[in-house]
């Protein structure tokens, strides 16, 4: 009961922040509010028992993304405005609203948040021995690591992590290529 209250207030906060980000005309303000959105998201991840994800969001949202966005603004111009918010683009709202409503029809068929009788836990689905169950039961004996997320990341699905590392590498290379620089600093 109390948990859901926390979650709902968080959801409201996140929604407000997202809408404010979308509507701010001034880019700098939008970036700042997006920072607030990231904060709310990190708390929600934490609340949904994903501390690793929340930590990444913290390091990325508070550290890297915001800084890069700000740097871009500093490197380019920021148009001065007298209006606080963008004018709402009605056709876009209609299109997006329709999109969201169509997606909303999927809601009844999705499994409730936090239920243990979902296919990923081997119930109501086809698989009985699902990876999720296996990881939780065998992580420690297989790998010697307590954090199942780390174990999956580095061992079971090490190739994904390899891809992730390559993505980061590729991003560094891509930025150098785009800006036509040969040195890293």
């Amino acid at each position: 009961m109390i948990e859901t209250a926390v979650a709902y207030t968080l959801a409201i906060f996140i929604l407000l922040a997202a809408v404010a980000t979308a509507l701010f005309r001034d880019v700098l303000s939008a970036i700042v509010v997006f920072g607030a959105y990231s904060l709310g998201m990190a708390i929600l991840y934490t609340f949904l028992l994903a501390p690793d994800v929340a930590m990444t969001e913290a390091a990325i949202g508070a550290g890297v993304t915001t800084i890069l966005l700000l740097l871009t603004i500093a490197r380019t111009t920021r148009p001065s405005t007298d209006r606080l918010f963008e004018r709402i683009n009605v056709p876009a709202v209609i299109v997006v609203g329709a999109f969201v409503l169509v997606l909303g029809t999927l809601l009844p068929d999705m499994y409730a948040v936090g239920t243990e009788s979902a296919p990923i836990w081997g119930e109501q689905g086809v698989l009985t021995e699902t990876p999720s169950l296996y990881y939780i039961e065998n992580t420690f004996s297989d790998t010697g690591a307590q954090n199942a997320v780390s174990a999956v990341l580095a061992s079971y699905r090490g190739f994904d992590t390899f891809g992730e590392a390559v993505v980061v590498f590729a991003a560094a290379i891509a930025v150098l290529l785009v800006l036509k620089r040969e040195v890293f600093t």
């Binding site: 990923i120 086809v126 296996y134 079971y156 590729a170």
Partner: protein, 541 residues
């Protein structure tokens, strides 16, 4: 051949490892990128050939990464389909290097990006895990955006950003699809999914609805990535403004790999039974494909910039492939795969030819191609051959793919598809004929090219006409009037462009692509036999 499976991770890891080499060596030496890349791709080509011989003689080869069983780890899979794509990727990547030696962009970071693209494409074609596929989609995407933006013109950055935003949305939609698959089944492995799909179908209900939602997201995501009408808008810009050396790779491989991924997901993960049993599914897929064929071909006809024209032609050809995927018959599937391969070879050749012509003849628009055959007979000949193959005149790569698809559509009793194929052939004929006519039957006009002093090959060509409008001819005429006959040097030969800038490698690439495109037409039956085990397995499961 027991250890052929060890090649699989090497195919992905080695190009990426070697991508660090130009960077590390770049601290000391200036230009090492090309040699490192050439060495790597050649080695990989040999390895892939070895792998292919294993796969086609003994069947599927898999590699469990980390030694974990496939349910819990990630698996690399080389079956008849993916090996063919891997072979195509690595062969094209090696061949296009011949162009880049002289004509392409240079620099160590560029070659690092090129190797990353190669590694990503190989990973994309070999992976057997739906989420791992997302990771490789994004590696390929990042490398592609970077390579497009490595062009000099300001337009290249704009088109790369457009591609980035739309491509990211496409990949994100795919990721949502993966989420729905995971929610409905709890697993991410393609083979496991293909094994449990019949049960999910039998069970029906909630899980099936989730799978249908997953399919919808994945299909829309890939429609964006493969550039299906009306989500194709990024593609012409990107192809046109990428450096001349990069366009062949991107046009030949990137969309092809995405189309492969779509086919892989549709047939291995969801399976024919799911496709046919879901109401309206095949109809929608076929309609999207056919619309792309018609729209792409029509738009290609009215283009004036040659690279842009070829780009719209790609929209049409991929539409054909998607439509063939939607037919859900064995013949159509094999036809789609063959068309994918043939199209890749033809487009690599055509875009390379466009690059060669831009350098050596200073021509970027259709009108500027006038008199090409007299002045640059080899390139013109190669281009003509490739165009004929693209139209689909037998025996050529273009014909054989279309033929199987048409046969498949008859089998599936979807007659309109056959009509669309015919129509698209007509339209292809229309724009190819325009180009051929200019090249062979229009004498060179004394036109001072808008590129006065031999633009380097890296020029993205942004000054060429870029709209969908037909102003091109007017523009050329105007500049002709402005500058007058000052550039007219010799009676028959036109002194524009810089033939010396074309190396033997660049020319060879065009010629070889043309020859391969024709040979593929003869080899159609053999290709069919090679792919038959895959199709049979998919359909008889």
């Amino acid at each position: 051949m027991s250890n052929a499976d060890l090649i699989l991770p090497l195919l992905v890891a080695v190009p990426i490892l070697m991508a660090t080499a130009p960077i590390a060596l770049g601290l000391r030496f200036d230009r090492t990128g090309w040699s490192v890349t050439a060495l790597t791709t050649t080695g990989l080509l040999a390895a892939t050939a070895y792998l292919a011989s294993a796969v086609y003689s003994e069947g599927m080869v898999t590699h469990e990464l980390g030694g974990w069983p496939r349910e819990f780890g990630i698996q690399l899979v080389a079956d008849e389909f993916s090996t063919l794509i891997a072979l195509l990727v690595i062969a094209t990547a090696t061949a296009v290097l011949a162009y880049m030696r002289v004509g392409g962009p240079r620099g160590n970071t560029f070659y690092a990006g090129y190797l990353l693209l190669t590694g990503g494409l190989l990973g994309l074609s070999l992976t057997g895990d739906v989420f791992n596929m997302f990771v490789f989609l994004e590696i390929v995407g990042l490398a592609t955006y970077a390579l497009i933006a490595s062009g000099d013109g300001p337009e290249s950055a704009v088109s790369a950003l457009k591609y980035l935003i739309l491509g990211t949305v496409g990949a994100s939609l795919y990721l949502i699809g993966v989420g729905f698959i995971f929610m409905a089944t709890g697993t991410l492995n393609m083979q496991v999914l293909s094994e449990i799909m019949p049960e999910v179908l039998a069970q029906g209900g909630q899980n099936l609805v989730l799978m249908q939602a997953a399919f919808a997201f994945i299909f829309v995501g890939f429609a964006l990535k493969v550039a299906q009408w009306p989500l194709h808008t990024w593609q012409p810009d990107a192809y046109q403004h990428a450096p001349d050396g990069v366009t062949p790779v991107i046009a030949a491989l990137v969309s092809t790999a995405y189309a492969y991924a779509l086919g892989r997901l549709m047939y291995t993960v969801f399976g024919p039974e799911f496709l046919t049993s879901t109401p309206y599914l095949t109809e929608i897929v076929v309609t999207v494909g056919c619309l792309s064929v018609l729209a792409g071909s029509t738009l290609a006809v009215i283009q004036t910039d040659v690279k842009r024209m070829f780009a719209y032609s790609s929209v049409a050809q991929f539409g054909l492939v998607v439509a063939a995927f939607g037919l859900v018959t064995e013949t159509a599937l094999i036809g789609a795969i063959i068309h994918l391969i043939g199209h890749a070879v033809m487009k690599a050749g055509l875009f390379a030819a466009a690059g060669v012509i831009a350098v050596s003849y200073g021509a970027r628009t259709v009108n500027e191609y006038a008199g090409l055959a007299d002045n640059r007979p080899f390139v013109a000949g190669g281009t003509a051959l490739l165009l004929i193959a693209l139209i689909g005149i037998p025996p050529s790569a273009g014909f054989i793919g279309k033929w199987y698809i048409a046969v498949g559509s008859v089998q599936a009793e979807m007659w309109p598809v056959a009509v669309v194929i015919l129509l698209s052939t007509m339209l292809t004929l229309a724009y190819s004929a325009r180009l051929l006519e200019k090249m062979y039957f229009t004498p060179a006009t004394p036109v001072e090219s808008p590129h006065p002093s031999a633009p380097v090959a890296t020029d993205g060509g942004h000054e060429g006409e870029d709209g969908d409008d037909a102003h091109g001819s007017e523009h050329s005429d105007e500049s002709a009037g402005d500058v007058g006959a000052s550039a007219f040097t010799d009676a028959g030969r036109i002194g524009r462009g810089n033939p010396e800038a074309v190396s033997l490698g660049m020319l060879t690439l065009v010629i070889v692509a043309a020859i391969v495109a024709v040979l593929l037409g003869f080899a159609g039956g053999e290709l069919y036999d090679l792919l038959d085990p895959f199709a049979t397995e998919v359909f008889n499961e």
